[in-house]
């Protein structure tokens, strides 16, 4: 799948929605709950099931990254499935504490 920063995607097996915040260096097979994700405008693919190996869940407002491709996404709606590129899970990025300046 060709992912660009700003692209919105949704899960086909749970409520998860994400936005790409960092474009991967090459095309990646991004999944949620083990099933392919679709763009926000697409109607969900029917008949997909949540793979029990990928159900750690996503959390609203957290960022997830794939070190190999540089892909980074922001979760805009949490769900039961977890994110992966192929079978390799995306890693939740812990907040780097930045002093508030606004």
């Amino acid at each position: 799948m060709d992912l660009k920063a700003g692209t919105g995607l949704k899960s086909t097996v749970c409520a998860t929605e994400i936005i790409v915040v960092r474009t991967p260096s090459s095309a990646v097979d991004l999944r949620c709950g083990g099933a392919p994700m679709v763009t926000a405008a697409d109607t969900a693919i029917q008949g997909q099931e949540l793979n029990p190996a990928h159900r750690d869940g996503t959390l609203l407002g957290k960022r997830y990254a794939d070190a190999a491709s540089g892909l980074e996404v922001l979760c805009t709606k949490g769900g039961e499935g977890s994110l992966s590129v192929g079978d390799s899970p995306l890693v939740r990025k812990d907040a780097k504490p930045l002093p508030s300046s606004d």
């Binding site: 920063a5 700003g6 936005i19 915040v21 405008a41 609203l60 407002g61 957290k62 960022r63 922001l74 805009t76 709606k77 907040a95 780097k96 930045l98 002093p99 508030s100 300046s101 606004d102």
Partner: protein
């Protein structure tokens, strides 16, 4: 990314948390999202291309900002302090637009072609009556905000900030709902300043309640921080000095205040040292940013402040006068006039690159093809990457072949016990091209001669930085964000010398 998505997330995650106003009857994130959706419908019905605000801060500000975002139109908060003619001319450039205004503005400005005026009260009333706009596609490339620069040199420029710039800044620098529900930020910068718009967008994403102080006064500021149990605030340097005076005379120490950010102008080191001593429980953050970069690009955090204050190493101690290090999401380089990067500790122009950097004015892209934006600010980076500002490039004094930073000369004069305020500018000189002139305000009841101040600067800096001219004055000209208007100072000096 799009600003409305960020509000949607806050409303989904923490619908009942109060985002704006008082803890008991303020606007929650769910309320704000609903009002913004209604505002989007109302804005679409106006058949305009821009949404203008000419008003002080109020809860109408976030409604208008996010309502414009959902409607896909730029939100343009204008400086209500501009002279009538200048405000009319800036406003005309936003046409066709609807302008939400403080009622007296309508009479003051009179009719302007292509502008529909609506008072704040009428706007809020009509929004309540409107239907909620449906979710539609949100374009990250759309212009979110137009901010007019102060235009001290001529026609104000409109900086264009797109959704992707502003949203990148927020998600890159703020942890989603990272604030606890007892935190509150006091916002006293006006809505037409980039710090005023980023206070809205950052606070909403952080889940931090915003309390507005529509007009700054040091006593009101202190009272509000105490009464509203404010945990953090942002001030410009002149505000901080005046707040400290109030704290000193009243003995108030603001126990709930945890974080005080300052920026928007050069902070004299003695003022920040005094603040650190008087408010030891408060974490200080110095932030440097520009309108064109969606706000902050470098910060000096509290740990940096403490390390600098405690250090015996002059290079580390000097960092109290720096603006800290670039945000991890931003690159900063110092370049010479040809655009070539210069070595560490060498002064030049500050260039910046990053996803939050818009670098665009209305009708003109000001950044390079590979994303670098020349800021027109002078500065240098030290060996550990701390950034020191040297003022606008136009303000640098060129004496002989030497570039002199007016800020350094001003700081030295300010350290003199008799000096309350000082401004340094270059004035035409037949021998040197430019000579250093200092305008000095003395403390009440204090005295100092021209020769004494010249000796003081010579003793602390070097002779080429010693002002050839010293003029005493009652006050210096500042803009409403506390920036010294050196150009105005220069004009006055040159006029006086010629007269």
């Amino acid at each position: 990314m799009h600003l409305f998505t960020l509000l949607d997330m806050a409303a989904a995650g923490f619908p009942d948390r109060v985002g704006f106003g008082s803890r008991t009857d303020g606007l929650t994130y769910a309320d704000l999202a609903t009002k913004a959706r209604k505002a989007a419908t109302w804005i679409a019905g106006q058949k305009v291309e821009r949404v203008v605000l000419i008003d002080e801060n109020s809860p109408a500000v976030p409604v208008l900002l996010y309502g414009s975002a959902l409607a896909g139109l730029p939100y343009a908060p204008l400086n209500y302090r501009l002279a009538t003619d200048q405000l009319r001319s800036v406003l005309a450039r936003t046409a066709p637009a609807v302008a939400v205004v403080d009622a007296p503005v309508v009479d003051r400005l009179g009719p302007v072609d292509g502008i529909t005026f609506v008072t704040r009260e009428e706007f809020l009333h009509q929004v309540d009556e409107a239907a909620e706009a449906a979710d539609g596609p949100l374009d990250p490339e759309a212009a979110a905000i137009w901010l007019f620069t102060s235009g001290t040199t001529g026609e104000p420029k409109a900086a264009v900030l797109r959704h992707r710039h502003l949203a990148s800044y927020v998600i890159g620098s703020v942890e989603f709902m990272g604030a606890t529900d007892d935190q509150a930020a006091l916002v006293s910068v006006p809505p037409y300043h980039v710090a005023g718009t980023s206070a809205v967008t950052s606070s909403v994403y952080a889940g931090r309640r915003v309390v507005y102080l529509p007009a700054f006064g040091p006593e009101t500021w202190v009272d509000t921080v105490r009464d509203e149990r404010i945990s953090q605030a942002m001030v410009v340097p002149t505000m901080l000095g005046r707040v400290l005076d109030v704290l000193e005379s009243t003995g108030e120490r603001l126990p709930h205040l945890r974080n005080l950010a300052y920026g928007g102008g050069r902070m004299p080191v003695p003022v920040i040292e005094r603040a650190l001593r008087m408010l030891p429980h408060v974490e200080f953050v110095n932030a440097y940013g520009l309108t064109e970069t969606s706000s902050t690009i470098a910060v000096l955090g509290h740990e940096d402040h403490k390390l600098a204050l405690a250090s015996e190493d002059p290079a580390v101690r000097a960092r109290l006068g720096s603006v800290g290090r670039p945000l991890p999401t931003v690159e900063i380089e110092i370049r010479d006039p040809d655009g070539t990067p210069v070595p560490v500790d060498t002064a030049g122009e500050i260039w910046v690159r990053g996803e939050q950097v818009a670098g665009e004015y209305l009708g003109r892209k000001a950044s390079t093809a590979d994303g670098w934006f020349p800021t027109n600010d002078g500065g240098r980076l030290d060996r550990d990457g701390f950034l020191f500002l040297e003022g606008r490039l136009d303000d640098i004094i060129v004496r002989g072949a030497e570039n002199l930073s007016p800020g350094e000369i001003e700081d030295t004069l300010l350290a003199h016990p008799s000096v309350a305020d000082a401004g340094a500018v270059g004035v035409p000189d037949t021998e040197w091209g430019e000579a250093v002139a200092a305008v000095v305000v003395l403390n009440a009841g204090a005295s100092a001669t021209k020769e004494e101040l010249q000796d003081w600067v010579r003793g602390h800096l070097r002779s080429s930085k010693t002002p050839e001219h010293v003029v005493f004055a009652d006050s210096l000209p500042y803009n409403d964000m506390g920036k010294l208007l050196r150009r105005k100072l220069k004009e006055q000096l040159v006029t006086e010398a010629g007269a």
